[in-house]
């Protein structure tokens, strides 16, 4: 314990050197921008800036890149809330409630909540990182394909079981997402699937951003155009103010979510540690569980601040968590840490179980810099909120073309293929129609993110067991996770059966959920 504190103090000695401190602030600023721009995201940002980092020593370089990664997690919430376009998969869950809040003229509330929740999530996870890195690395190591699949099942189950909305429609939406996720070259055999005859554009699959920007960005735009026409061309995208009074109220409302925020932080951290899972499943699960915990879940999806706090706390916590397998095992916990890992090799370091003892300055400097990065990202983010809100005050006729441009750039960036732009426009129109028909679209987005993670782990598990599904139940970590997932999944069915047997009025039964 004291030994760890001593090392941490030593780490702060590295992180708080003026030059490194400057890199942290610069990195947070760059990250904030990259995260807020749809289509850029931390993966691309870190990859683009990686070659620049050989100009500084390795500890400065990793501190800079980690600050970008961190800042991007804060920034991702900004476009989710203001424009309704998730800039990265990690910020999808933030759109669910952040966007409705912005439409009600409460963008400042959503942004403040997101910034504070990110700070809490980030800080709790760095503390956990500081004290429990080695034992957790061991857990991450024993996590195999069956455990990964059980975890993905849990993520799906939190959405179906806790959905509360029309369950049939939720499942329909998930299935659509899973089918879209299956398009492209089969991960295991390399055989092309569902490529519509021979359209080369489908070969690389359907990127999550194409669906998310289509449904949220373009779909949202169509929605607003319709509202605008009804309001006689006067409606604005949203209205908000930021005054001292309002900020005080926002902060005090945020403190009311402490239970959900801290639980989401811990959850996000643990999911982030597991290799290949990353921040996205963590933030989606946190959202699902938060919906279960609040007294009035029907507010979710219509502008509940818990719905912003939970995923934001979780995705920042997960981004710290995903650094743990990177440093201790040399395995990336997320796509961004995969690039960071490459960077460490270039700088001449050897990530893996030996890194903690061979390069303590590097490791502890990085950990200490995460504490500092949290503080600066929070300050920067809060200071910029008035500027973000100012953007919203622009009339819709000016804002709409800017958003559309951002959508198109964001959809083109990941694969650089025109095919994806057409596809995105189609998704936009279909998404708009689905929403008119009251189909939830979020589960489809969830499915396209989690599908490509769940499918290989399912197939690997069954290949190992020779087709026996018991492999998910008779392993120490996988078993309990799978059981919880199945209980959550079938909970609505149990309640329905219960209601039928009692023959009572349906209205009463729901109050128990």
């Amino acid at each position: 314990m004291f030994e760890i504190l001593g090392l941490l103090v030593q780490g702060f000695g590295v992180a708080l050197q003026p030059f490194n401190l400057m890199l942290i602030i610069l990195g947070c600023g760059v990250g904030l921008f990259i995260g807020a721009m749809p289509g850029l995201g931390s993966v691309n940002g870190v990859a683009i800036l990686l070659p620049l980092t050989f100009l500084v020593p390795p500890d400065g370089a990793i501190i800079f890149l980690a600050a970008i990664y961190y800042g991007a997690m804060y920034g991702g919430a900004v476009s989710s809330i203001l424009l309704g376009i998730p800039g990265a998969s990690t910020a999808v869950a933030t759109t669910f409630d952040g966007r409705p809040l912005a439409k009600q003229g409460l963008a400042d509330k959503a942004l403040t909540t997101a910034a504070l929740a990110s700070f809490v999530g980030g800080t709790i996870s760095v503390i956990l990182f500081t004290f429990f890195a080695p034992p957790l690395a061991h857990v991450a190591l024993t996590f195999g394909a069956p455990e990964e699949f059980s975890l993905m099942m849990l993520a799906f189950a939190t959405f179906v079981g806790l959905g509360g909305d029309d369950i049939a429609k939720t499942i329909f939406s998930i299935c659509i997402g899973l089918v879209l996720a299956a398009v492209g070259l089969d991960i295991m055999s390399g055989a092309p699937r569902l490529i519509f005859g021979d359209l080369p554009g489908f070969m690389h699959g359907i990127n999550f951003l194409v669906l998310a920007i289509g449904i949220y960005g373009i779909g949202e735009m169509l929605w607003t155009v319709e509202e605008n026409a009804r309001a006689g061309g006067k409606s604005m995208l949203s209205e908000a103010n930021m005054t001292w009074e309002r900020t005080k109220k926002n902060v005090s409302e945020f403190t009311g979510t402490w239970k959900i925020t801290s639980l989401s932080s811990v959850l996000g951290y643990f999911v982030g540690i597991l290799p290949a899972a990353g921040a996205t499943p963590g933030s989606l699960m946190a959202y699902g569980i938060a919906k279960q915990m609040v007294k009035n879940p029907e507010k979710f999806g219509k502008g509940a601040i818990e719905g912003v706090a939970a995923p934001e706390a979780a995705n920042n916590a997960a981004s710290t968590g995903s650094m743990l397998p990177m440093l201790t095992l040399g395995i990336p916990g997320s796509p961004t840490t995969a690039i960071l890992l490459g960077g460490m090799v270039i700088w001449g370091l050897e990530p893996g179980p030996r890194l903690f003892s061979s390069n303590p300055d590097f490791v502890w400097g990085l950990i200490a810099s995460l504490y500092a990065a949290n503080v600066f990202a929070l300050i920067l983010n809060v200071l910029l909120i008035p500027a973000f809100i100012w953007v919203l005050k622009l009339p819709f006729t000016i804002l709409a073309p800017i958003i559309l441009t951002l959508c198109l750039v964001g959809g083109y960036a990941p694969t650089q293929d025109m095919h994806d732009l057409w596809l995105m426009l189609v998704f936009g129109i279909v998404g708009y129609l689905l929403r008119k028909l009251d189909y939830p679209v979020a589960p489809a987005v969830l499915a396209i993110v989690l599908g490509p993670l769940a499918e290989p782990s399912l197939r690997q598990s069954l290949l190992i067991s020779g087709g026996d599904p018991m492999i998910f139940f008779n392993r120490p970590y996988s078993g309990p996770i799978m059981v919880v997932a199945l209980i959550l999944l079938f909970m609505p069915a149990f309640f329905m059966a219960y209601r039928l047997i009692r023959g009572g009025r349906p209205g009463n039964a729901t109050s128990g959920v």
Partner: protein
């Protein structure tokens, strides 16, 4: 050196100067060609994988030593074991600003998917930067497995329950697994994962029984003489030993050596001047101290090869792979 072409005297002087400066390095006749826009460096794999790391490392060497007047931009085309990248390169016919970093999927993917219509002999050979090596690994918990003989005994007893983890189907790892199965009469089950790092972790976490991983991917869990090692090598598929006390399959009486090429390829139909430029550029990268250190550290072998020699190497390797794929039944 020549930055921008002047019209009259400057041009003449510049050309003479540039030619004089580069005469010792490469053929002076080609010295005039220089890239006019950023060079696109296609990677046949996703961000963060072994090939991607190598490309970003070369990019950083080129930037650090100011070897090129324009930026080099890595572009990932990971789909379908390189199919996406190969089709993309095919479409870049005659382009002087697109190069690609290849693995052995350069041979196996077109062989397995003739429908792609990719003929690798049409590509422009630039430079072989290294050959990556392979070893057979098991978990250190397997105290009674210390040699290939022990391994064969254990794997035979386990039959289909013996799990060999590797990257992708019909990949290098799959070919090697198949080789071991045929040569030693085993029935190991091959389970594909995404990326060598993941494979290394599956073995270290005891979720697989063995791997045929690259040393560079498995080494986070192995260092000669370390008591905390989670995995250990039994033998390597190289001509010369990589680790002290660890034999090669050649030492064990099997006439079998296997490498994975790491070469730079130009778009089909690239102009001879551009090809010469890239050969010169990558000769400098190859000879840089950073790349040589990287080769040592990553246990890479294989000398630099370019031009016709590289093409001849491709043709030979292509035949070898065709034979291997036929044997494992992946192609007819």
């Amino acid at each position: 050196m020549l930055q921008r072409r002047g019209r009259t005297l400057g041009f003449a002087l510049g050309t003479v100067g540039a030619a004089a400066l580069t005469a010792g390095l490469c053929s002076a006749a080609f010295a005039e060609w220089k890239p006019q826009k950023p060079i696109e460096f296609v990677v046949m794999a996703g961000k963060g994988g072994g090939a991607d790391k190598a490309v970003r490392f070369m990019q950083s060497i080129i930037a650090k030593e100011k070897l090129a007047p324009v930026p080099v931009i890595p572009v990932n085309k990971p789909g379908g074991s390189g199919a996406e990248a190969l089709v993309y390169m095919k479409g870049k016919k005659g382009d002087d600003h697109t190069i690609m970093f290849t693995l052995n999927s350069f041979y196996t993917t077109p062989l397995r998917q003739p429908a792609l219509g990719v003929d690798i002999t049409e590509f422009t050979p630039v430079m072989r930067m290294a050959e990556d090596t392979f070893c057979l690994w098991v978990n250190t918990d397997k105290k009674d497995i210390n040699s290939v003989d022990d391994f064969v005994k254990a794997a035979k007893a386990a039959g289909k329950k013996w799990i060999m983890a590797g990257t992708g189907k019909a990949s290098e790892d799959n070919l090697l697994t198949d080789y071991l199965n045929t040569t030693y009469g085993l029935d190991m089950k091959y389970v594909p994962y995404k990326g060598g790092g993941k494979v290394a972790k599956e073995l270290a976490g005891n979720n697989a029984n063995s791997t045929v991983n690259n040393p560079s991917e498995q080494e986070p869990f192995y260092k000669t003489g370390d008591a905390k090692n989670k995995t250990k090598p039994l033998a390597c598929f190289t001509p010369e030993p990589i680790y002290d006390g660890v034999p090669t399959f050649k030492d064990l009486g099997k006439d079998f050596v296997y490498f994975m090429q790491r070469s730079v390829v130009g778009a089909p139909g690239m102009s001879a001047e551009a090809a010469a430029y890239y050969q010169d550029l990558f000769t400098k990268v190859f000879n840089s101290k950073d790349w040589q250190n990287y080769r040592t550290k990553k246990k890479l072998q294989g000398e630099a090869l370019s031009g016709d020699k590289l093409m001849a190497y491709w043709k030979h390797e292509n035949e070898v792979h065709e034979g291997m794929l036929k044997e494992m039944g992946a192609i007819k």
